[in-house]
Symmetry: C2
Subunit: 752 residues, 2 copies
């Protein structure tokens, strides 16, 4: 338990490190050499070109313009300047809504903080139960501002109960309003977008086997009969792994060809030869340009053959297809209805965006899917509560004496005192640290095994799992000391109403710890985020050693993306802390507000200048975000009840009981009111399209778009992956030269 | 705890009373005077006419044919003789599937019983832990056959664990198979039925208010635009309470007219006069026939006026409508999709059968609905756990001394010893008994407040609530003594893993109690059911005092119906008992098998000869039945784990942990596989209809049916009720002379 002084020191250190990061960022980002690291988004959009090509040699690498150093903090107002519609057009709705989570945090907690400091802090402070005369071990100045200062049986608890109601209703109001706004934004976004193929397309899975027809014919006949008036075309999913690897190989060779062509252009006299053997180290010497040209031509032929083979080979055809309709109405009807009396075949759902499809999971049979989900549910339980077991095992095995025995030749190194103590000190922590770094990857792999078919769905499921892990192991694990397994064990041996009491009782004592946590993980962490240390280093390493052509340089710049699955649950921890401590120890709230404000600024800057989203789901994650905040609210209420029931305030505790009931009810109201907009698609909006397309006033442009959608779809889906690539989940850009992807990917600004 | 002897005595008494009931039934049912009580179904079908009109006077009342007495038990084979397709045609799918619940009980428990007696009983019996030398207070012969005989830490528990797995998988298999069969039956039934209006109709609720249009125009325009190709017609729901009361009044007067016409026909000379004043006791004397004729004519006029008024009065129009489509495909599309971007208006769902509509709930706004559900959820919680509080209150108030003080004039009666002790003894029980009798009615009222729009839905929700009540107050209440509130209190003060232990530990000791319960409630109760004592008495009272015309006699005969809401949860109690005791005390199983067998026989007889279902939902309740059996299975597994963990068999307890996980998973698999067939409607089946109706081969007959459906719908729904009748839920047969209801109501036999 730290005193106010301790917190002050910690705050000082963290503020210094955060400011340090920001200062370094301010300086580093205006150096031309780093331009691609801090503005990759603009490069991808094609509106910014490398500053290296202009000016003298020095100015290619270092910014010598002093005036820019004076304006080094102007990225902050710049990040806020872009209006939201423009932001949506620029970065997509997913990103724009994502930063609204931070804004939501501000909206919820700023008024709560003001109220808490106006009402609760004076009430707590003037209750002199924890006086100076007491020699309480775990009480200090922080506690004088917290609910602990009231002492058992105080009448003043009624103030806290009243405030709990006020805070709850305020949170309801803000959440409801935000859900409404974001739903409107989503529907507006979908309605105003250019005709994206996925708005006309339904993903059909579990297509039953027909002995007389191929999958393609079967799909064609089925939809031609059952959706006669709306069916347009279909594209069966192929297992095209061989084709994909050919495409990848060709791309690599093309890059080399470009490199040698550049060399040749610079120095036309020099003969460029390479060796055809392993790694170009031995073998016959040939002319480089000629060699690459002929090899690429060969590969092109092979590719065409492979493509023909994939399309004609029945084994390469997966029992899944993308079926396109001539109207959104037809697609909406097909996606939302059941096709046959057997609900395990012909499963239809809205097709994910082409970029968003997770190809390896398209062909999982129904029964296998449910078995996979069962196994993953059990695995998640064990991962959450027993993850310490294998780590402890590794730790116990990996002590130095054992290593010495197994690998005696390391003895001289280990026996030295310096390394020994360092290793001995770090080793136990390393296993845990490695596990925590890989945790999001592990959870993502579990989501993939569960068989979701879109990347956005995978991210959402990963986020749910990660939130559970953080809640159990970070929040509960910090409040109640001991591993999750020990907690679980003590909880099932404890009476049901004792659990909230145990946790609630330790809540006020952990306030200092969480304040420090917020400063380290929140303040300094966010400031480090904007600096992009890892991509910065990686870019320069690649740039120095690997980059040969302009294309290589573009690939060396990794813009990254928001990674909803691992970042959102960590925001949720702040919501949880804020709601839990709002009534108990309001002193924590300003720290959370600073976090939300700083993070809002930083992430708005990042999505404008850096991140490049892999897909666009149209803010489909919002119901999850909303649901987790409501969960946090219910948890905070139950813990408050637990805390008060240990304070000999039984009557007042009863007054809190309606709160969790109300919160759960609120959740269902919001679910019924808004959630359908994220799952279904309203027929009314879709029916407008039908008039446009099938009316006699159809324009040449409209026809073009429809046929174009067909062609694009066919091309995009033809390069898809099969089951073989379960681990990577990446779809190589098959035939980038032939697919006008820019057309599909670029969202059009809502025209108002 | 009774010994085997005690059980023998109880069994003797109950077998005797059951046989007594059956014997009385066998004799009573063949008396012509009771014919309408025991064969009302056939009267309603019109295939049986009153036997009173033939033969001499005596034979009208008493059956003098001795041979029929010798064949007095032949109703039993007769009940089994009717094949299932005929039964479905005769009694509807709901009833046919309902009796299959009993059959399912036999299918699950007969093999389990055989196995349990072959394996578990010998294993238990030969473990001599509870020997004769012990003076164990609560152990007796029954316990020697139960798991209690093994003693702590016995290795033989592995046999029980193995059997728990075998029983679980057997139950899975039977449940899965049954779900499959019943789903097929349902789809077959729906596909083979005559074109019922509800298969083409969608119920639209929460129609938003349009300032420029009436509700009818608004609906017309909305669906004409959004479902242009399939929209056929619509019928707005009216609040026609005044019209309904006029129709009712006319019906009563018509009955009197028939009575006087009969009187006149018998005795043409006698002048029939009545007085026009109150109850016909005073006022002007007029000719009866003439009076009724003129009054009825007047009422007809009033009715027409009222009908015009209702249709034209905007206040009488409710924001709900039945929208019909020209194909099942169109209706399926509309019912399963979301209409506008605001999911709280234009809510569509499949229209219930016309008989099945619960009119008062059609017009509840969205927000009110969610508030009602919140309140009812809280109310159900209090009803389940605190129902003893008001009853105890009534009991404490209603003691005789208090009554004496408040009503001193009763003193002489109360002070007598005889009545005093009787009343004193009965009074506390009476309040509880009255509550239990009215419980299904209370739960049904709660379901009505929740706002479900169909009678079948109301019954299903009532059944869920009743099952919860029975589980908590009958099952847990018997196992753990004390009121539900005391249990709840002790449970929340107990550690989580102690609860199954506490209950599991007392399970074996309560076997004798439940055996007696099964015999009293199951055996004798079912035998009393077939006798229909209450309808028998009511019929004869009405027949003697109230019946004037043939129509009156028909109404005096109350066929009743299955009342799914109150009977199904009581069957579920037997499933629960069977599954819980299968491993623990298998001796209880034969008693359950006898119950299921007897009940199957009796209810098959009843649905053939007696019950007349109010509606036909097409076995829509099966997912609920299935879900509750799986719930019972999970409960039984958790209690077995609790029981074994008190027997120092910790390792073996762990071996049981996968069972509940598997059962929950099984539930989700079945849900995904079959449940959509009960909620959605496959488009494939519907699309066949579209070809029939809109194809060029359309026949005159088809057109007739379509237009007929329109007309019938309009007529049926025009007589609907408004909000005023919230309590009764009955829809008077408005204009029975004009609506060809028989056409719609009679299901057609599936043609194979």
């Amino acid at each position: 338990m730290g005193s106010l002084n301790d917190i002050g020191v910690a705050a000082g250190i963290n503020i210094l490190s955060a400011v340090g990061f920001l200062l370094v960022f301010a300086v580093v980002r205006i150096q031309p050499i780093n331009d691609r690291v801090y503005f990759p988004k603009w490069y991808l959009k094609g509106t910014r070109s490398s500053p290296r090509h202009i000016g003298n040699v020095l100015s290619k690498f270092v910014n010598a313009d002093v005036s820019t150093y004076l304006r080094f903090l102007n990225w902050m107002p710049a990040a806020l300047k872009m209006p939201e519609p423009e932001l949506i057009e620029h970065a997509g709705l997913d990103s724009a809504v994502y930063v609204r989570i931070y804004l939501l945090g501000l909206k919820i907690f700023v008024p709560i903080t003001v109220l808490a400091f106006a009402v609760l802090v004076p009430v707590n402070w003037t209750s002199a139960t924890l006086g100076d005369d007491e020699e309480g071990l775990s009480y200090d100045q922080i506690d004088k501002l917290s609910i602990s200062n009231l002492g058992p049986g105080s009448e003043r608890f009624w103030v806290h109960i009243g405030m709990a109601y006020v805070f709850t209703f305020w949170t309801f109001y803000v959440l409801y309003h935000e859900y409404k706004v974001i739903t409107t934004m989503r529907l507006h976004f979908l309605a105003n977008q250019n005709r994206r193929p996925d708005q006309f397309t339904v993903l059909v899975r579990n297509i039953p086997v027909d002995p007389d027809e191929t999958v393609g014919e079967h799909v064609e006949h089925f939809f031609a009969v059952n959706h006669r008036e709306h069916y347009l075309s279909h594209q069966v999913a192929y297992n095209a792994n061989a084709l994909a690897s050919l495409v990848k190989k060709k791309k690599g060779l093309q890059n080399w060809l470009v490199y040698y062509e550049n060399q040749h252009a610079k120095n036309p006299e020099k003969e460029l030869t390479i060796k055809t053997g392993l790694w170009g180290l031995w073998g016959e010497k040939v002319d480089a340009l000629q060699h690459y040209k002929t090899t690429i031509e060969e590969l092109c032929k092979q590719e065409d053959e492979e493509r023909q083979k994939v399309i004609s080979d029945p084994k390469a055809i997966m029992p899944a297809a993308f079926v396109s309709f001539n109207s959104q109405w037809g697609a909406a009807v097909c996606a939302q209805t059941q096709q046959t009396s057997n609900p395990t075949v012909w499963l239809t759902e809205w097709a994910p965006e082409p970029r968003d499809v997770y190809w390896p999971n398209l062909a999982i049979p129904f029964v296998e899917l449910s078995i996979r989900r069962l196994i993953m549910a059990v695995a998640l339980f064990f991962l959450t509560f027993f993850f310490m077991v294998p780590i402890a095992l590794v730790q116990s095995v990996a002590n130095l004496d054992d290593i010495e025995r197994v690998l005696p030749f390391l003895k001289p190194i280990i026996e030295r005192n310096g390394p020994r103590s360092v290793i001995q000190g770090f080793l136990p922590g390393i296993a845990l640290k490695i596990f925590l770094i890989f945790l999001p990857t592990i959870l993502m792999a579990m989501s993939k095994i569960e068989g979701h078919v879109s990347l956005s769905g995978l991210e959402r499921k990963t986020a749910s799992k990660y939130f559970l892990f953080i809640f159990v192991n970070v929040f509960l694990g910090s409040v109640v000391a001991g591993t999750a397994f020990q907690q679980l064990n003590s909880f099932i041996h404890q009476s049901t109403n004792k659990i909230p009491e145990t946790i609630g009782e330790s809540i006020p004592m952990k306030a200092t710890f969480f304040i420090t946590y917020i400063m380290v993980d929140g303040w300094a962490g966010i400031a480090a985020e904007v600096l992009r240390l890892k991509p910065l280093i990686m870019f320069h390493i690649k740039n120095t050693f690997l980059v040969r052509t302009e294309q290589d340089r573009e690939q060396a710049m990794d813009p990254g993306s928001l990674e909803f699955g691992s970042t959102e649950p960590r925001i949720q921890l702040y919501f949880l802390l804020g709601l839990v401590y709002a009534v108990v120890t309001p002193i924590i709230l300003p720290f959370i507000i600073v976090f939300f404000g700083l993070a809002y600024l930083v992430f708005r800057h990042q999505i404008i200048n850096v991140y490049n989203q892999q897909y666009e789901s149209g803010a489909q994650f919002w119901p999850d975000v909303h649901g987790r905040i409501v969960t946090a609210l219910v948890i905070s209420q139950i813990l408050l009840i637990g805390l008060l029931s240990t304070q000999e305030a039984d009557q007042s505790t009863v007054a809190l009981l309606p709160l969790p009931v109300l919160a759960i009810w609120f959740h269902y109201v919001c679910k019924g009111r808004f959630e359908p907009a994220y799952i279904k698609f309203p027929l009314q909006a879709g029916s407008k399209r039908i008039l446009l397309i099938s009316s006699p006033y159809i324009t040449a442009d409209d026809i073009h778009i429809v046929s174009n959608v067909k062609r694009e779809l066919r091309l995009m889906f033809a390069g898809g992956h099969g089951e073989g690539h379960a681990a990577t989940g990446k779809r190589p850009d098959a035939e980038p030269e032939r697919v006008p992807q820019g057309r599909i990917r670029a969202p059009r600004l809502p025209q108002r």
